[in-house]
């Protein structure tokens, strides 16, 4: 199969065109995922662009994005495939007299009566596909096993029908918020990518790209304040999306340079716990 990307740098520039600023680690792993044909497991704090990465890669490669949102109680009829019982029933009733039983039997377990769900859809699709399995840590450990076959061999085994193998190997991204330890079996099959809060320069760049018309000076100041706040011992550190919200708010308020009072008054956009806000306000106004 033809590789999608020429080298790591091209991944980076490609993502940048989609307004996703990747660092070396992110671009490297995406490149590797394509070359090795392996899924990527993305972990990291909430709001650092894990899901967005998959979306941007899809846009960049012009592939269709198929998304499986995980939740507790997800099962194979919602993730993999399901037989269309109503249609099967109709088929049996439609020609009661003509067919012999064995013919009907073979017939009702064929492609026509199969309802594809996201995972099966992703591997049967003709056109290129990016498969996003979102918040995989929300399913139970037992359900994880459903994913293993598709992740390692890009195939789905259906007892009545046999094995369906992928027509093309999709790029697969799994995201996890780390609310539980994923099983070894799953981790072994994936490349691992930890997306952390960006460093100062990258955060500033993100702000500049995502918030139109923002001045360089303001973006710089925002990035630096956010960095200082993240260093505090907080319940929930501000995420990138919260930084962006904050930047947009400041733009709306028409603020050019942030001073103490403005920072304090808008802190509730960055931080979501009262104790955190109090702590940050205190820290920012007392310089040693």
């Amino acid at each position: 199969m033809k590789p999608r990307f020429k080298d790591v740098a091209s991944v980076r520039t490609g993502l940048k065109k989609e307004k996703y600023l990747a660092d070396d680690g992110i671009a490297g792993v995406v490149y590797l995922a394509d070359r090795l044909g392996k899924p990527v497991l993305i972990e990291g704090p909430a709001g650092t662009g894990k899901t967005q990465l998959a979306k941007s890669v899809a846009e960049m490669t012009g592939a269709r994005l198929i998304r499986l949102q995980c939740y507790e109680g997800l099962d194979e009829s919602k993730a993999l495939y399901e037989w269309n019982y109503k249609k099967q029933l109709l088929r049996i009733q439609a020609d009661k007299n003509s067919d012999s039983w064995s013919e009907v039997h073979d017939d009702i377990f064929s492609d026509e009566f199969l309802l594809t769900r996201p995972l099966l859809e992703a591997i049967t699709s003709e056109e290129p596909v990016v498969l996003l399995i979102d918040e995989v840590d929300r399913v139970e450990v037992e359900t994880e096993a459903l994913l293993l076959e598709i992740l390692s061999d890009y195939q789905v085994s259906i007892p009545e029908l046999g094995t369906i193998t992928a027509k093309q190997i999709p790029l697969v991204f799994l995201t996890s918020n780390n609310t539980r330890e994923l099983s070894e079996a799953l981790k072994r099959r994936c490349l691992y990518l930890h997306v952390d809060y960006p460093d100062l320069e990258r955060e500033k760049e993100i702000v500049v790209t995502k918030v139109p018309d923002i001045s360089d000076n303001l973006a710089d100041q925002i990035a630096r304040i956010v960095r200082s706040i993240r260093q505090l011992d907080l319940k929930k550190a501000p995420s990138v999306s919260e930084t962006l919200d904050w930047a947009r708010t400041l733009m709306l308020l028409g603020i050019d340079t942030i001073d103490e009072t403005e920072a304090k008054e808008t802190l509730h956009i960055l931080l979501k716990y009262q104790t955190d806000i109090a702590k940050a306000a205190k820290e920012l106004s007392v310089a040693k």
Partner: protein, 482 residues
């Protein structure tokens, strides 16, 4: 093929450090190396990381080992300075001349080797001031070469050299100096917020410089002794394996960071267990109601939702010097998952005992509460040496009546009683009233009952004594508890 040898040595070392690298992951790494050239050091590192390290907490360990094994590769990491681009050297020469003033002629040359220590310090300050990365790196090299006093074959660890280098550069005062210089340069007065931001910026640059120095020392050591030997001396335990009683300050920090995600995971797991674990008793009404749709046959039995009672917890912790860190961590841990218990009360003692539940009630910030426990709790009775016997006696006298069949009592400490009276009957009485009494001991099992440790005497009356030396053991104990 040298890369192959290097890789297998590298992977062996990862396993030695405790990272679970499986065979398939090993093969993946080899595949990855094929498509990523080793010359692109960062990409190479991320490629290996993505295939071999599947837990973010292990990344630091991985990075160190990577540095050791691959630090001598890549042009910008050469020890000799010839590889530096010319214009960089010219610029540096300019800076040197600037620092020295006009007097000495250009072309006296010799690069940095001819500088005096004061000049180096001045250049470092400039570099930090301007955030000049290349300069910082060059200075790190120079100061290691000059101040660390490294001798080949000397069996001294990297920390010693690091200490010597940093002491000579006087980095502790550097932050203050930078701030002062910055204040002088900008004419108007900075607001508190700006000042704070400047300080954070300088702090992070100094931190970066320190890392630069550290990795330079590491590179030189590797060149001297070889990767295998070096990796062995640098081997550090993973965060979850760090012992509470012997953790250094850095390790304490990483422990604290590891604690929060761990508790979150544990809480999620326990909540899930509570919901799914058992089926409740048969719900007769509901079953009959559903039987109507089957013509009165109870084909679909319905069960009540299980609502298992949450245990009540009483934590009684020794906070004398030797075990203080352990007590702190256990308290943090327990309070971080306190909604898994119906009630948590905590007591701390040395030779006197004091209830500290109120500190945790009054604030949501566990760290602050722990600080208040350390400073405000009244735990000294006579001389401030652990006296378990007296503490337990007073505890039982005051709060013994609150122990009931729902209560689980956790006793924390090394049971080193300084040869005071044991009063182990108190523990026996507690156990009679409580649902469970457990003892957690931060000492290794082999030390128990040696010297003045009488954990065996207390332990006989509890439902179990657990060795709790690191986060891993603490977590596995707490998960059985709730």
């Amino acid at each position: 093929m040298p890369v192959l040898d290097l890789m297998s040595g590298f992977i062996v070392e990862l396993r030695n450090a405790g990272l679970p690298v499986s065979l398939t992951e090993n093969l993946d790494a080899m595949e990855a190396v094929k498509v990523i050239p080793i010359e692109d050091r960062d990409a190479f590192k991320y490629a290996l990381g993505a295939t071999l390290v599947k837990n973010n907490a292990h990344w630091r360990v991985f990075e160190t080992i990577f540095e050791v094994y691959f630090s001598l590769r890549g042009p910008e990491y050469e020890i000799t300075q010839d590889a530096q681009p010319d214009d960089f050297w010219r610029e540096m020469q300019d800076q040197i001349d600037q620092v020295r003033g006009q007097g000495e002629g250009k072309g006296s040359g010799g690069g940095m080797d001819s500088l005096t220590p004061e000049e180096i310090a001045a250049m470092l300050m400039r570099a930090l001031m301007n955030g000049d990365q290349a300069m910082m790196r060059a200075l790190a090299k120079q100061s290691v070469q000059r101040f660390a006093g490294m001798e080949p074959g000397r069996p001294v660890g990297g920390t010693y050299y690091l200490y010597r280098t940093l002491r000579n550069l006087d980095l502790d005062n550097m932050l203050q100096k930078l701030m002062d210089a910055n204040r002088e340069m900008s004419n108007q007065k900075l607001s508190a917020l700006e000042e704070r931001l400047e300080k954070d910026e300088f702090q992070s640059r100094i931190e970066q410089f320190k890392q630069e120095v550290e990795s330079e020392i590491r590179r030189r050591l590797v060149a001297d002794r070889g990767a295998e030997a070096m990796a062995k001396t640098l081997r550090k335990p993973l965060p979850e394996d760090v012992e509470f009683m012997h953790a250094s300050r850095d390790e304490m920090q990483s422990l604290k960071k590891a604690l929060y995600p761990l508790t979150r995971k544990l809480a999620a797991r326990l909540a899930r267990k509570r919901r799914h674990g058992r089926k409740g008793p048969l719900d007769f009404r509901n079953t009959v109601r559903h039987s109507l749709s089957y013509g009165g046959v109870p084909a679909d039995p319905k069960f009540r939702y299980p609502r298992p009672a949450k245990p009540e917890l009483m934590v009684v912790a020794d906070i004398s010097g030797s075990v203080a860190a352990f007590a702190r961590f256990t308290l943090m841990f327990v309070y971080a998952i306190q909604n898994q218990f119906s009630k948590v009360r905590s007591f701390v003692f040395i030779d006197g005992i004091d209830e500290v539940t109120k500190f945790f009630k009054s604030t949501e910030d566990i760290g602050e509460a722990i600080n208040r426990v350390n400073t405000e709790a009244d735990v000294v009775w006579v001389d401030g040496h652990s006296d378990y016997g007296h503490a337990f006696e007073v505890f039982f006298e005051r709060h013994g009546k609150d122990i009931n069949s729902k209560t689980t009592v956790l006793l924390l400490g090394d049971a080193r009683n300084n040869y005071h009276a044991a009063q182990s009957w108190v523990v026996k009485e507690m156990r009679k009233r409580a649902r469970h009494v457990y003892w957690l001991n931060p000492e290794p099992k082999s030390y128990w009952n040696t010297g003045d440790s009488i954990v065996g005497e207390y332990g006989a009356h509890t439902d179990g004594v657990y060795e709790c030396r690191n986060l891993r053991q603490l977590e596995s104990f707490v998960s059985t508890l709730a």
